[in-house]
């Protein structure tokens, strides 16, 4: 009998091996995400009888890598895709597999129809939302405690903090490069209640005067020592804030970041805890102006030789309680209902992340266009704000340049 059972088990093993697929999965992220994803892939691979080769990088350059792979049809079977990329790669929905074709493998009932709509291009479900994300203010409590200050609750508080921190060579907040764009957009969205891009016309929604006001506000932050001057902030070269010694050592007290990147900014701190805070309102604000969007999605290559196996892996990563527990909050607060329930019950979600997600979901703000994150739009905003920060042009000139350049970029698209 024992021999028969062993033979049966062996033959079943061979059957399993025959259906086993060799897959690739690509993603970007920090160390925490890399380690957890590799571990979860091992678990899912073992459960489903597949082998998944991980391909991971930092954020910088990942978009270019995926672009090249998609163009050369050498992309991974499973990909972590940034939400705005769906529009760039797959406006007609044809660049990725339609995940509704694998509804028998993926439990789509764990997402609301609204959530699925965020990953749907031209009627095809190109990506499953991993999480919803938005920008929140984060403050390192140790920076303010040391200065004998309460955690800031308004821009005025930050101005007061700057007076105490600047003599120590520290700044209460940071907003250069990409964050400068987000702060200017925040101020403009708060005052106008509108997103940068008008969904009706496909052009810039803000008038020159409205944008100039937001730019003046940004300029005032630098003048009052709330944020580091642009020139000072770039003195470290081309690296991100969380990699900077100034951030690590508490020379910068806060920043305006994605809620899903809490760990990336909290982990390097030598001292203190990162506290999420709702975005401060500028004078005359009509809304919170929060920038909120579907975060990353998981997509399956339309060129995959094993799309069903890839779908099984996606389902495992997003819905399997064990895999979800391993992944924890490394991609922010999960969008899948079962994943959220699992993590909440297991106490795996840090209170800070939950708080940050709550802030994002409760704050008001306009619906944002994915074109906000198009590199041509970003380039137009960044160039003009940088020139203004270096004192080469006035806020009015910057506003005029931005509107002209962004409209030109949108027309080219």
């Amino acid at each position: 009998m024992k021999t028969i059972v062993s033979a049966l088990a062996l033959s079943l093993g061979f059957i399993g091996a025959a259906s086993a697929a060799e897959l690739r999965m690509s993603w970007w992220g920090g160390d925490g995400r890399h380690l957890a994803t590799q571990e979860a892939l091992k678990l899912c691979g073992a459960k489903l009888g597949h082998v998944v080769k991980p391909e991971f990088t930092g954020w910088q350059g990942h978009g270019e890598r995926v672009t090249t792979q998609l163009a050369g049809r050498t992309e991974a079977d499973v990909m972590q895709i940034n939400w705005p990329w769906l529009h760039q790669f797959s406006a007609d929905g044809s660049a990725f597999a339609d995940l509704r074709d694998y509804a028998d493998v993926i439990d789509l009932s764990q997402w609301t129809e609204d959530q699925l709509a965020g990953g749907t291009m031209n009627g095809k479900l190109n990506g499953l939302p991993v999480s919803v994300t938005g920008r929140v203010f984060y403050f390192n409590d140790a920076v303010f405690e040391k200065a004998g200050l309460p955690l800031p609750k308004s821009w005025a508080d930050l101005e007061e903090a700057a007076k105490k921190l600047n003599p120590e060579g520290a700044y209460p907040f940071d907003a250069v490069k990409l964050n400068a764009i987000f702060i200017v957009s925040l101020a403009a969205a708060q005052q106008t209640g509108k997103d940068l891009i008008d969904p009706e016309t496909g052009k810039v929604a803000w008038t020159e005067e409205e944008l100039a006001e937001a730019l003046k506000f940004y300029q005032s932050l630098s003048e009052k020592g709330v944020i580091r001057p642009w020139r000072t902030a770039v003195a470290v070269g081309n690296i991100e804030l969380f990699d900077e010694a100034a951030w690590r050592d508490g020379k910068v007290g806060g920043s305006y970041e994605w809620d899903s990147t809490y760990g990336k900014y909290a982990d390097p701190l030598v001292e203190g805890k990162l506290i999420p805070t709702p975005p401060f309102r500028v004078e005359g604000a009509t809304s919170d102006g929060v920038y909120r969007k579907p975060s990353m999605v998981f997509s399956i290559s339309k060129n995959s030789r094993e799309p069903k196996a890839a779908a099984e892996i996606v389902n495992c990563l997003l819905n399997d309680p064990e895999a979800v527990t391993i992944l924890g909050d490394t991609r922010g607060l999960p969008a899948s209902a079962v994943a959220l329930k699992t993590l909440t019950e297991a106490g795996k979600l840090s209170p800070e992340l939950l708080e940050a997600a709550k802030i994002v979901s409760e704050a008001s703000g306009p619906a944002v266009s994915p074109l906000n994150e198009h590199p041509a739009v970003r380039e137009a905003l960044n160039d003009a704000i940088e020139e203004m920060a270096y004192g080469q042009i006035s806020p009015e000139e910057a506003a005029s340049t931005i509107i002209r350049s962004v409209n030109r970029a949108l027309t080219r698209m």
């Binding site: 998609l70 070269g237 041509a376 940088e386």
Partner: protein, 294 residues
């Protein structure tokens, strides 16, 4: 020569020629065609005639700025690199102790210099709290914001390129060693000073090699990417935003392949014109021993 051996050379070069045609020839022709199209990578190409070029030269502020930066970068790095390479080659041409070690040591930066790792290292060296500012501090000199000021940012990436002088140096060294020693002996008998010997014998006889290095270095400098991409990402104020960075971002960030091809062809045309100018001017300053004109 038998029929078989007549084609032997052809067979030897065939693998290279095939590789050249597939990996250089085809993309070369394809990019020329694409430069007349609106090609968004995932959407296919649509012919738009000269639109990309018209846009480039009439409405694209970034292109004009990047072109100016690139020309300044080439104008700075090429003469500096050639002068430095020649200077070191002249020193290494002397019969010094452990000369083999020094020749190898000076060549090493050329192997490493273009790599991402060295660019990252460069970024740390010139950061506000980096090695250079620490060294300046020892002498009581105030720290310099190398990456925050457009002029000093350009200086840092220029220095990285000049540091990779090894290839040009090796070529200079080989040329120096091939100069007929009797010319130096004759000059010594005539009592010529070392400086006079260098100006009247060494330099004229090196002009073919200087010309070769000039063209090669110029072409390579126009194609520089790693240094500015890693160290400054083209900033501040696009002061280090060389054209290859612009091509890369247009192609792989904006996915605007047609426009990126047009920029690449504009860059190619500029390199071509400058190379033709260099060849034309070489008739006036390059000395070829045995040339009937000499």
């Amino acid at each position: 020569m038998s029929g078989e051996s007549r084609f032997l050379g052809f067979w030897y070069v065939l693998p290279y020629v095939i590789g050249l045609l597939i990996f250089t020839g085809v993309p070369f022709v394809a990019s020329f065609w694409l430069s007349f199209t609106d090609y968004r990578l995932m959407r296919g190409a649509e012919f738009v005639g000269l639109e990309n070029y018209v846009d480039l030269f009439t409405a694209d502020r970034t292109f004009m700025r990047s072109l100016n930066v690139t020309l300044a970068y080439v104008a700075l790095t090429v003469p500096l690199k050639l002068a430095f390479a020649l200077f070191i080659a002249v020193i290494l041409n002397y019969k010094l102790r452990a000369i083999g070690f020094f020749r190898t040591a000076y060549y090493v930066p050329s192997i490493l210099g273009g790599s991402i790792a060295v660019a990252v290292l460069w970024r740390y060296i010139f950061a506000d709290t980096g090695l250079v500012n620490m060294a300046l501090g020892v002498f009581g000199i105030e720290a310099i914001n190398w990456f925050g000021d457009p002029a000093t940012a350009m200086f840092t990436i220029t220095l990285l390129r000049v540091w990779q002088f090894g290839s040009a140096m090796v070529i200079f060294l080989a040329a120096l060693q091939s100069i007929d020693k009797s010319l130096y002996e004759a000059a010594a008998i005539d009592g010529a000073s070392k400086w006079r010997v260098f100006l009247s014998i060494t330099l004229p006889l090196l002009t073919p090699v200087i010309f070769f290095n000039l063209v090669m270095q110029m072409v390579q400098a126009f194609q520089e990417f790693n240094g500015p991409y890693v160290i400054t990402n083209g900033g501040p104020l696009r002061a280090t935003y060389l054209l290859p960075l612009y091509i890369y971002e247009t192609a792989f960030k904006k996915f605007d392949m047609g426009y990126a091809s047009a920029i690449a062809w504009a860059l190619f045309a500029i390199i071509m014109v400058l190379t033709v100018v260099a060849f034309w001017s070489s008739k006036k300053w390059v000395y070829y021993a045995g040339d009937k004109r000499s």
